[in-house]
Amino acid sequence: MKNFENLFAAWMIVWVVFFIYEISIARRMARLREDIESLKRQMRER
């Protein structure tokens, strides 16, 4: 298949970009949940 490398690279870019983006959302969410829990704990302790 001619130019298969370019087709494969484009295919990979689509999924790698979406995958990295989704992972970044999940990590930011996990960090925020931890921060929220920690703030709530601090406020309860006051």
Partner: protein
């Protein structure tokens, strides 16, 4: 939660079939052959981007009209997703262009206005990072978002208004445009799959923004509590 799993599975199945159809079922284009198959995820990523930009535009106007934070959350979520889709479009385009045009990139009207659009929405996201006050951040970014959206219709009409290296529109492009019926069906399947994925990611990003707002509110509450005189102090006075 059940609906969430069901929709994720449905989108995953759609993506699998769309990918299979794009690579193995769609007929080879006569002049470009295999490389034309980039079109099946290049074009849907632009459609997803224009949809996300329209959501940003509507959310920005709705925020300025109502000052409700949910519109700001929706605006920033859709703007980030639009930048992701635009990045995919800008990265996959040159991979198609090099074997077909012989060059990776050219500063024609379509590519230049698209590149400016990408920079505008990156600026939109950066601008939010510069401001601490949530209300100020929302107002400034809503105004900037409305201004940035002016470039979106220009990108769409650029290859109709000017002679560009970028191909003329094949859909809604006048008498000489049109797609082979099979290519059209596979393209439609790919558009539905990418839009489904976009909606799922947008919902996740929106949840993230709501969590950020909850965190900001709690932090303000904690700061207010810290400023209050302690109960011991009150007893002494």
């Amino acid at each position: 939660m059940k609906a969430r799993y069901a929709s994720t599975i449905a989108v995953a199945v759609l993506i699998f079939f769309a990918g299979y159809a794009a690579l193995f079922i769609a007929p080879d284009e006569k002049t470009m052959h295999a490389i034309q198959r980039i079109f099946y995820f290049h074009l849907p990523s632009w459609i997803a981007m224009f949809t996300a930009l329209s959501v940003v535009f509507v959310a920005n106007i709705a925020y300025l009209a109502t000052r409700r934070s949910k519109w700001d959350s929706l605006g920033v979520s859709a703007a980030e997703l639009a930048v992701v889709c635009c990045t995919i479009g800008l990265a996959t385009g040159p991979l198609w262009a090099k074997p077909v045009w012989g060059i990776w990139w050219t500063w024609d009207a379509r590519l230049t206005t698209t590149f400016i659009l990408w920079l505008l929405y990156i600026s939109y996201l950066l601008l939010r990072g510069l401001l601490d006050d949530p209300e100020k951040k929302a107002v400034f970014s809503a105004v900037f978002g409305i201004f940035a959206f002016l470039d979106a219709p220009l990108v769409y009409v650029s290859n109709r208004l000017w002679r560009t290296q970028h191909p003329q529109p094949v859909i809604l492009g006048g008498n000489n445009s049109g797609l082979d019926p099979m290519i059209g069906k596979v393209l439609l399947l790919c558009v539905i799959a990418v839009m489904g994925l976009m909606i799922l990611v947008l919902l996740d990003r929106y949840r993230l923004e709501q969590l950020r707002q909850e965190f900001d509110e709690l932090r303000l509450e904690q700061e207010a509590l810290a400023l209050e005189p302690s109960s011991i102090g009150r007893e002494r006075s």
